[in-house]
């Protein structure tokens, strides 16, 4: 691989690193309210685990 290509790759990595910094600054601002940061509630956990357990128990009782 030529030195030019290696240099281009270095520039590409530097560009990516700069874009990461910009994005981190944006997502870590105090006024950046993102609904995705809200974790599952206890009811969510219960509903999801309960759904899987219920499906498994019904399936085994029916099919095994």
């Amino acid at each position: 691989m030529s030195a030019d290509t290696a240099a281009a790759r270095d520039r590409y990595h530097e560009e990516v690193a700069a874009r990461i910094r910009v994005r981190l600054d944006e997502v870590m601002r105090e006024d950046d309210v993102d609904p995705a940061r809200r974790g599952l509630t206890a009811w969510d956990w219960l509903a999801i685990i309960g759904f899987f357990v219920l499906c498994s128990v019904v399936a085994v009782a029916w099919g095994y």
């Binding site: 990516v16 981190l24 995705a36 599952l40 999801i48 759904f51 899987f52 498994s56 095994y64």
Partner: protein, 476 residues
């Protein structure tokens, strides 16, 4: 250059989110519950679902087979749903978050060895499926009787890999458009299969058919299917981490994943099992013409072949982009065409004897279980129990020695010891090659203990060794 190809492959926001290591921002999260459900459904309705459903026929009949698939998928998809919540919360690329547990260099073997080999295996299997689809068409049209291991299967398999290479290196835009019709087409295939299966057969006809090669111990046969169904679920782990970061909420991502990868997957796997029982053959490419007749059957086989090329191309693209971004210089400077060629070329090795892997597909799934379940256990322990769902995003991208996730020169030895313990536990319960099993396997599976051991060992080592040593940023 990868950057230009990324530009062609997807719009900027999707490009960064799907194929880059950049954290996504709030405005780039585009998938609400319904959007994400559609994406997950597209993944679930894929040819691999027919393969997994078909392989159940070796061990179980219809009712027990469905029950085992439900249990296995519930466990496999369940742990995946929880283990990628952090990717949704922080918008992080999958293996970027894994750095928090394995270290900035420690994550690399997971990318360059584990994930790479798993994807090579998947591509090889899909190439064989393409080859067998093509050979079935040739046999039907020319009246020939080429077998599943014939050179023609390998030749067509190589053709599919070459076409995938051309698509990935030259024409990703065409692939993007094909992606939009592949999933609806395969949904139609599933519906057509159900219609034809029930045209001449009743439910009780199917339940009366015996499995092909059971061990004879009902609990053992059941657990064998549960085990590879778990592996089928956890095989989504890396892809799911990347996709779920585009979700607008963690709740929406979780339920959409359950709807697609659990519910819809079971529908597709069940039609595979029914067809395999009907024709006494686990290979999906052998069902279509006898089931639907030559005309429709050939159309379905052509569609399966094209869908496989799509999957191989997307997989090759994502794996190769990820490898170039992980700052290993000789990979970064390798030509894009050569890198993709090496990935797909390695997949071609599986074409030397197609039946060796393809006809023992469930054993390939067991290897995925060996590889992924302890890692998922480690990630669950690290993210939920040790870090309480809070990671240092800046530190994840900090490559300097001494940074919080640097551990020991970039490697978290505790994670690798826990991984070794998890893998050892799996192999002590089930040998993926010989199918030797120890007594507890029938009651515990191999994946679940492997995950739990990985989790517990990681927790203990972190508490008694990593945290006291001031490594890992746990105190910050």
């Amino acid at each position: 250059m990868a950057a230009e190809e990324l530009e062609e492959f997807a719009p900027p926001s999707e490009r960064d989110a799907l194929f880059g290591t950049l954290p996504v921002t709030r405005r780039e999260r585009v998938w609400g519950f319904l959007d994400m459900t559609w994406v997950m459904t597209g993944l679930a309705i894929a040819t691999w679902a027919f393969l997994i459903g078909g392989d159940v026929v070796y061990f179980l009949g219809l009712k027990a087979g469905i029950a085992a698939m439900v249990v296995g998928n519930a466990i496999g998809v369940g742990v995946v749903v929880f283990s990628v919540l952090g990717n949704t919360k922080y918008g992080l690329e999958h293996f970027t978050l894994v750095r928090a547990a394995f270290g900035r260099h420690g994550v690399k073997p997971l990318i360059f060895i584990v994930n790479f080999l798993v994807c090579v295996g998947w591509s090889g299997i899909l190439a064989i499926m393409f080859g067998r689809s093509a050979v079935n068409i040739v046999n039907e049209l020319a009246g020939t009787k080429y077998g599943g291991d014939s050179a023609l299967v390998a030749a067509f398999g190589v053709v599919s890999l070459v076409v995938s290479w051309v698509v990935v290196t030259r024409g990703p835009v065409a692939l993007k458009w094909f992606n939009r019709v592949a999933a609806p087409g395969l949904t139609a295939v599933v519906i057509v299969m159900y219609v034809y299966l029930f045209k001449d057969n009743s439910w009780s006809d199917f339940t009366a058919i015996e499995p092909l090669e059971p061990f004879g111990d009902p609990l053992l046969d059941f657990m064998m299917v549960v085990e590879f169904s778990i592996a089928g679920g956890v095989s989504w782990w890396p892809a799911q981490g990347n996709l779920s970061r585009l979700a607008t909420t963690q709740r929406g991502a979780a339920w959409a994943t359950i709807a697609g990868l659990f519910v819809v997957t079971l529908v597709a796997q069940t039609v595979g099992l029914m067809a395999a029982l009907r024709y006494g053959d686990a290979d999906p490419t052998s069902w279509m013409i006898p089931l639907t007749g030559a005309g429709v059957g050939i159309l379905i086989l052509v569609w399966i072949g094209l869908a496989n090329i799509t999957t191989m191309s997307v997989q090759a693209y994502q794996v190769c982009v990820a490898m170039r971004q992980e700052s290993i210089r000789w990979l970064s400077t390798m030509s894009w065409d050569l890198l993709v060629g090496i990935f797909l070329g390695l997949s071609a090795l599986l074409l030397i004897k197609p039946s060796a892997v393809y006809d023992n597909f469930f054993q390939f799934l067991y290897w995925i279980g060996v590889s992924y379940t302890p890692v998922i256990g480690i990630m669950l322990a690290d993210y939920f129990l040790l870090r309480r769902q809070a990671v240092d995003r800046v530190a994840l991208f900090d490559d300097r020695p001494g940074s919080p996730y640097d551990f020991w020169r970039g490697w978290n030895l505790a994670a690798y010891i826990a991984l070794g313990a998890g893998v050892g536990t799996y192999l002590a319960l089930l040998n993926p090659v010989s199918l030797w099993y120890s007594a507890p396997f029938k009651y515990l599976t191999a994946s679940v203990p492997s995950l739990v051991v990985g989790m517990v060992v990681y927790l203990l080592l972190t508490k008694v060794w990593v945290q006291p040593a001031g490594k890992g940023g746990y105190g910050s």
